[in-house]
Every structure is written in C-alpha cells, then in structure tokens.
Symmetry: C2
Subunit: 264 residues, 2 copies
Amino acid sequence: MKTLTIVKIGGQVLDDEKRKMAFLKDFAALPGAKVLVHGGGKLATQLATQLNFPVQMHEGRRITDADSLRVAVMVYAGWINKTLAATLQAQGQKAIGLSGADAGLIQGVKRPIGEVDFGFVGDVVKEKVNAPLLQSLLEQGIAPIIAPITADASGQLLNTNADTIAAVLAMAMSGFYQVHLVYCFEKSGVLLDENDENSVIPMMDEQFMHRLKEEKRIHSGMLPKLHNCFQALEAGVKEIHICRETQVRHIGKGSFRGTKIGLS
Amino acid sequence: MKTLTIVKIGGQVLDDEKRKMAFLKDFAALPGAKVLVHGGGKLATQLATQLNFPVQMHEGRRITDADSLRVAVMVYAGWINKTLAATLQAQGQKAIGLSGADAGLIQGVKRPIGEVDFGFVGDVVKEKVNAPLLQSLLEQGIAPIIAPITADASGQLLNTNADTIAAVLAMAMSGFYQVHLVYCFEKSGVLLDENDENSVIPMMDEQFMHRLKEEKRIHSGMLPKLHNCFQALEAGVKEIHICRETQVRHIGKGSFRGTKIGLS
C-alpha cells in the first residue's frame, strides 16, 4: 500500500506570514500523496470584530450563529483556502482548495442541542467521507487543501473542528493507503511542562495521557486532539505525530522530532 | 462526442433567494455533463460597505485593490461558491466548488497597467485551462461550480470576469465535448429595446451586433458578453445562448427561448 501523509496545520502558523511560507515550501517538497487540512487563526475573529459581530463563547468554545458561520465560510473556505492553494500551485505543487461541503467530501451533522446550543457546528464521522474523490485527486498528483467547513444532508453549511476533520479523513483513507497523520502547531510536541519546549514527550499512549490528566499536566486544548489521535489509531491509521510545523521537512527521516502517538 | 453544458449565472439571480433556489433545482435536473460559472452579485459590495472599504470605479468598471480582492475572494470563492455547492449536493447533484486558483484550473495574468490600473484583475485565455482536471470531475458525474477568481503563475489571486471565464472554459473544453454555453441573467435574452421583454432578438451575429451598436440599441454591459460569445464560437464552441435563468429547464428542448448567438 502507498503512503498518504495528512498534515493538519494550526491557525497560529497561518497567522505568521513568514512561518506560513516556510511551512508551505516544506509541504510542497514532501514526497508522495498528501493532504493539507487547515485551521482558521485570528483572521475570522478579526473580520467578526470589524463587522461588529459579537464573538459568543461557552467554556472556551465558540458558538457559531448565522453571522459567525458566514464569516467562517468566507475566511476559511474563501480567503485562507484559496491563498494556500494558489501559493502551493506557484511552488509547483498541484493543490486544490476544497471544503467538506464540496462533492460531499465530508458530510457533517449539526451538533444536537444539549445543555448548550453551539449553533452551526458540525460533527463528522469517517463513514461520511467521499474517499473515491480524494483518491482520484491524489492519483492525479493533486494535494487536496481542506478548509474546516462541512455541510449536512440538507445543504446547511457547518463550522467544523479542523483536528477532527484531519482524523476522520485519515480514518477514511486508511483502507486505501498507509496513512501518516501529522498535527503541526506552534509547539515542539506534547509537552510535559507546557512552558518548556525541552519537555517534549517522545511517545504518548492512552494510559500515559490519563496519568498526565490526573496530574493536570495536559491543558484542555490538547485532550480532544489526543482523543482524535487514539480513535484514528484504533481505526487503522498507521502512524500519528504531534509536532512543530518546521518538522514537516523531516517527515519520514531520522531527524524528525515530535510526539509519537501510540496505542496502549 | 458527448455534450457539455456550461451555464453562467448572473449575480442578480443569486441575490434573490427564491429565484436562486428555483434555478439550482433546474440546474440539478439538467441531464449530462455540466459546469456552473457564477458571478458575484451585491453581497461583495455590501460586505465592502460594512467594512468601510471604498468602492473604486473607473467608467463603470470596478478597480480591485488589496481590500476589494480579499472581499471578492471571501464572498465569491467562499460564501457564494460553498452555498451553491452544498445546495446542489442536497438536491442530489454532485457539485464541487472551485475557483480558477485551484489546481491551476484557470491560470490568469494580472491585467497590465495602461491608462488605468485596474488592480488585482485577471485576464484569462483558453490555453491556460486545466482541461484534464475538469474532464476527470465530469466523468465522475460531478458538476464543477466555478467562482470568478483566478491566480497567476506567482500565486497572486485575481478578480476575474465571470462571463469571460465561462467563455474560456467553453473554448478549452470544445476539443473534448460538444459544448453548449448558456449565459443566464435576469432578462429574456438580448433585447432590441432593453425596456421591452417582448423584443428578444432570436438570433444574433456579428454583423447584426455592429448594426445595433451603431443605432445605440445595445447597452455597454452586453457588448463584452457578445464579444466573448463570438470568440467562443470561432474557437469551436458548438452552441451559445443568452437567456433568462428560468430557461435552464428547457435546455435541449423545443420550448427553449432566448437569443442564439451565431457567426456571420
């Protein structure tokens, strides 16, 4: 089976023009089939502020009303997605900008209203990925660049977590490829002390995660990312790493540094 | 050779939710391979106004500065493009939202600065269309939905006329398909008297256009559209019509009404 590398790039890297350009150069140079899933960054918040749309939060999580959804679609699936695709094309990497809403690439479901109504937010599962379309693009040497927007069966657009999209895509494609899922962000990996870049945990499994959680050494943003990782491994994804975006140039080499995610 | 129908839909139809939904239903029901090219409409102007970006015009033509470009990409390639794709998907029509910047679908060239600098505006030619990608999507039964944004070889995004994009795509695909290019807008066709919907010109050729131009019976917006049409016919596009968007359900039938464009 061929290898497929799925890279998720976080918003903070995209917000820094110089880091973004260096990352895209490395991504373009990465050999073999590849997919880029991108987050949002501060642009959406900036636009919402400029438009005087209030940003609604619940326990650190954003609530997506109709105005926020429009901003998310415009910024993520519009400006960021097309900028990334055009920049990669210019570097000789064939790249097609898509969202989950395109050709049913990832059909979402609007999150049911529980104690909190998160609004137009989508939940996704690996069974609702259009794998043949991705395969067809990858076989043409085209890298799909995927914005964190999906649509449900009724055509409603939904804001969707980019980490989860990357995991779900990795799971759906692992029947056809040996998938390497790489979460890139602004830190060197999962850190034992989040303020010490020299405390990278080389290998993380569920047991160790639970231990660190008890010791309150893992901050809240990392836990859903790790849950995505364990779920993906159980569904047959070959290899998963969490690392700094500068590591993309070392993928598949001995010089690669980051946190490897493993099953217990 | 199989038939490919390329429909261009104007902004005014998209601005009217009810007309838009009726049009999309008709487009979804259209048999065979098809492409939808969409314009902008008033949403971009609305967003620019909300953001206090001044709209700069020169002789009725918009000048695209960096801010206007960002608005155009967000609205056209983001909100409108993804809304159209998701709505069609929900109607059972496989639809992928793309811009010219994706996988080099249509590589543009920034318009040279002459007497006026139009800013980030793209000119396009049929030789710079990625026809194999379109073919691959069409063969999978997917309708490409194309936003009027392109990128140049350096990765610079460019605002690009949607009528011209439709013509250039029709020309590029006419080597592989019998292409029927249909410009849909809010009028019944090319009118002899622009205030009289009963004055539709059934057939228009270049000679007749020049005559009407001399009599000042064709308004300025129609002339570039007609020039695109004649160029497309000369490049091998099989059939071209200009009509009201409600005619899409009659395409290929005797009940179809509009202006047929022919060579002299």
